[in-house]
Amino acid sequence: MSAGVGVDLENLWIRFGDFVAVRDANVNIKGGDFFSFLGPSGCGKTTILRAVSGFLEPSEGNILIGGKNMKGVGPNKRPTALIFQNLALFPLMKVWENIAFSMEIKGASAGERRKRADELLEMIALEGQGDKLPSELSGGQRQRVAIARALCAEPHVLLLDEPLSALDLKLRQHMRTELREIQKRVGITFIYITHDQGEALTMSDSIAVMRAGVIDQIGDGKTIYNDPATPFAASFVGENNVFRGKVKQVSGDRVLVQSNRSGELLARVSTANVGKMKEGDSAMIFIRPEAFELARTGTEGDHYVSARVVNEEFEGNVFNIFMEGDGGKEIKVSLPNHGQSFDSHKGETMTLRYDVRNAVAMPAGVLATE
């Protein structure tokens, strides 16, 4: 299997008439990485993928694969293979013919093709199913056939366009691990498109968060989750409680924000925004539901918010507590379930303690609308 090569997007613009689908994207994807584009539908991530695979010419900027500029190179000449959202298996060909299609194009004999197809079928754990038609396979099996078909072309870069979105939850989670394993085994670059932050976080070496054609942040899963660069990244990836307010005082990477409804809150300025916040600016502070610690009133620490418990839900791995602060401010708290006894505090006013490192502040901006 060929080694993965890097993919670089340089000042990439893609326009459809007046509509800008991708705005000045600059991405460096390392060879052999599992790289995800994460964003809501319509944010331009599929457009980027189609541009990389060659179905779309960028309006401006360059796409480099393995350092070579791909301008004017057709999709059939690029070292990429695309896994379509609906898989696009050829319905009239048998599974093995599907897998070996790229060899048939090159004129390989039926024997050679069959041999290679059987090897790949073994790799995706579908031995002996080569003579079936794609319609006779289950969704997860079809998924793996599509991957095998793409890998058979020996691409340097594998592009995946939300390939798991059609599967049910259990299978989706199973396929995540499987995809990751396949990627490690074949060692080529995977570029993965998804709107599911769980998929992006579990599989990727690197993630690009996209919003309306703009790449907001690029980083590994932990960075994206713990140190979001924009309010959109903070609110789109995982759940977050947002506190709006005005900057009252800045010192280093600490900022004191006078929040609209929850008093003064001290927070850490996210890495990407250090030095960009001044006194008097509107700001946003994000605190994850699991970063709060629920405590009785009167046991306040240094940093806290007071709120009344409105509702409590048990979700299995966590207890979700929905609270209402001053002025109707909604706050969600998640307590991990490690078998502790759980007393209901419904209607009681409680103190929510947090660690300043877990409260991320940044200039106010657009949030993700779920």
Binding site: G54, F55, N76, F84, A88, P91, F101, I105, K132
Partner: protein
């Protein structure tokens, strides 16, 4: 309301409906096996296969079939190609232009075939002259003109069939092929064309049938190559024969065969697919166990039954000679005619006897007429106009001769009229 009454009326309705649909075909098929020279199902005279041999000895009909087949083949090729190109363009064209384009492409179906025929003739004649070619050039050949003329509108039919299939095509399949390294030509040949194959087959059948049965366009363009429909139309002008019924019967049988074969094939494919779906991996790899050709396949059973029936009929036709029957029928007809004549004579005799007893002085008026039995039944015989006959003759022999010679059983025998007139 009573449900059984509804059910009965539904059945009656269905019976009427199918009688209306299939009745003419059944009657016409029956005439192909009846011996009278004018196609008729009743009275049934003799089972005969002679009309089939008459059909196969008719050089004009055979030539017509040959021309129809050639033109049909040409039309199929041209129409399917144009239809496929039109259908592909329809899916590729700018959405804004699509409705306009569709209207233009569909227009030939709405234009009367006569107009298409005339305009084809006129247009290609002009082209022919512009190119400075003579009247015997390929462009003015009946074959070329008919294929071109028919294809103008049959291509539209083909396009409609092909577009319906093409709309279910996922463009991602072509993209997947391109992405896997195929050129556009390879993607078309290996992915799109196999997908379109069923629609191409049905549009080809449709094109062939439309070409085969076309009359009003062909009638202007056939030139030296009359098709079967043209020949039939010309024949009908000079009187129809059961040979044409036998041709129609052959076409009906072939159609039913083709339909049954198609149905049997589809049914079989479904059964195989169902069996595959149920089969385990081991069964699939260890050789596919197919159900027997006939099990659970009504169409296949019918097909086999019809095949056996055809063989039996052909075998019978090879050995069966209806000469005796036809001779019998002729003899029977003759006897009937004689009998009727006899009856008439007897009645007249009786009447005359009555008369002679009533007025014995009056001479028998009919006796002279009976003597001069001519081909016109004596209507022009001046003797009949005479009130009283001057030549007494042996009346009995005269009227017998007249009745026996007439082919109409003596009904036109003026003697009979005279007998009653007096």
């Amino acid at each position: 309301m009573n449900t059984s009454l509804i059910r009965v009326s539904v059945w009656i309705y269905l019976a009427i409906f199918f009688a209306y649909l299939l009745g003419p075909l059944v009657i016409m098929s029956a005439t192909a096996f009846n011996s009278p020279a004018f196609p008729s199902a009743t009275p049934w005279e003799c089972l005969t296969f002679d009309w089939f041999s008459a059909l196969f000895q008719d050089a004009r009909i055979l030539n017509g079939i040959k021309n129809s087949l050639i033109i049909g083949a040409g039309t199929v090729v041209l129409s399917v190609l144009m239809g496929l190109a039109g259908a592909l363009l329809l899916t590729q064209i700018w959405p804004k232009l699509r409705a306009t384009y569709y209207t233009i492409i569909i227009a030939p179906i709405l234009i009367p075939g006569v107009v298409l025929g005339i305009s084809t003739l006129v247009f290609w004649d002009r082209v022919n002259r512009m190119l400075g070619l003579g009247p015997d050039s390929a462009l003015s050949s009946g074959l070329f003109l008919t294929v071109i003329g028919q294809s103008t509108f049959i291509a539209s039919y083909c396009m409609l069939v092909l577009v319906a299939r093409l709309q279910r095509y996922d463009v991602a399949l072509t993209e997947a092929a391109l992405d896997l390294g195929a050129t556009h030509a390879q993607a078309f040949r290996k992915v799109l064309l196999p997908f379109m194959r069923p629609a191409i087959a049905s549009s080809a059948v449709l094109a062939f049938l439309a070409s085969f049965e076309n009359y009003n366009t062909t009638t202007f363009t056939f030139g030296e190559y009359p098709t079967l429909t043209i020949e039939l139309a010309q024949k009908v002008r000079y009187g129809i024969s059961p040979a044409i019924s036998s041709l129609a019967f052959i076409i009906v049988v072939l159609t039913v065969f083709a339909a049954l074969a198609n149905e049997a094939l589809i049914r079989r494919r479904e059964l195989v697919a169902a069996a595959r779906r149920k089969a385990t991996v081991a069964e699939l790899t260890g050789g596919l166990k197919l159900p027997g050709f006939l099990s659970g396949n009504t169409a296949a059973v019918l097909l086999v039954v019809m095949g056996i029936g055809t063989v039996v009929v052909l075998g019978t036709a090879a050995t069966y000679r209806p000469d005796q029957c036809i001779a019998d029928v002729r003899e029977q007809k003759r006897l009937e005619a004689e009998k009727r004549a006899e009856e008439l004579r007897a009645r007249r005799d009786a009447e005359r006897k009555e008369k002679s007893t009533a007025e014995p002085a009056a001479p028998a008026p009919s006796t002279g007429a009976g003597n001069n039995s001519g081909s016109f039944g004596n209507v022009f015989n001046p003797g009949t106009l005479q009130d009283g006959a001057t030549t007494p003759a042996p009346d009995a022999q005269g009227s017998t001769g007249s009745g026996g010679n007439s082919g109409f059983g003596g009904v036109f025998d003026p003697n009979a009229l005279q007998g009653s007139g007096n």
